[in-house]
Symmetry: C2
Subunit: 162 residues, 2 copies
């Protein structure tokens, strides 16, 4: 298991709680992610996420909500493998990775940030983003404000997150 490769210790009950997210695309090997949520209160959230080799977490953003929530500030920290994070902004001229073939229309964020183990990047709230693992897969810690997955906005209209 990828968590073990990264030497992340999980309890037995946590292992049962790992979410296998296929985003309703039924194409998990290409597009999807595994997520273990350590904590998610009204104030902050921490997760440990796994991407299989070459797997992509599809493009989305976390909008402000009517209840005063300002959107999700997210820090991604690579623990294992390699992460190609793409965020809205000036396009990287020669990106190392591509969106999943056939789905290019749903991937618009084109500034590529490469994260190796120990490297991290913080997104301000409501930044459009997607990310893909390198050939060894990736384990990524996420430190953020509260998660409201049911309100995530995906660029691909076929996607259902929750």
């Amino acid at each position: 298991m990828m968590y073990e490769k990264a030497h992340i210790v999980l309890t037995e009950s946590e292992k049962q709680k790992i979410e296998v997210v296929d985003c309703a695309l039924d194409d998990f090997d290409r597009t999807g992610i595994c997520i273990l949520t350590y904590v998610n209160t009204d104030l902050c959230c921490a997760k440990e996420m796994v991407l299989m080799p070459g797997q992509t977490c599809p493009e989305h953003t976390h909008k402000p909500l009517d209840n005063g929530y300002m959107g999700k500030e997210e820090t991604f920290r690579c623990r294992y493998g390699k992460v190609y994070l793409h965020v809205a902004g000036e396009a990287t001229p020669d990106p190392a990775v591509k969106a999943p073939a056939g789905d290019e229309a749903y991937y618009t964020a084109a500034r590529e940030i490469v994260l190796n183990p120990g490297e991290q990047y913080t997104l301000v709230p409501d930044t459009l983003h997607w990310f893909q693992a390198g050939p060894e897969g990736a384990v990524i810690s996420e430190f953020s404000t509260a998660s409201h997955d049911e309100y995530d906005i995906f660029t691909d209209p076929r996607i259902k997150r929750v």
Copy 2:
């Protein structure tokens, strides 16, 4: 180095940024902690902390501030070793560890929570707490709201945090 024992990968520049906190007690082997802050924005904060074998992080709380900050919500997740966390509440009858000898007056939180690797505990804001490592030391991830170390309130009046 303890971070390596826990297989936590740090960049070279992060290794230079590790804070060695002796709380101005000049008694680091007994009372102190090493802290690497990964991220600390107005909204949330993540740290990786190290306690040496038997070392104690002294009792403190994180108060609400005049600017609307409601105090620090903290989740402690043990990654390596063993953590004896003590929080305000009903005293544990037979606690496994004791406050540093001679300093007992400054340790009042007496509900003991034992965290093994993969185990975690979330403190609501403004909970008095202290923690001590077991014989192998400990590596602890902290996920929290914003940190304002300079406003931490320590029970021991000799302590200066920043």
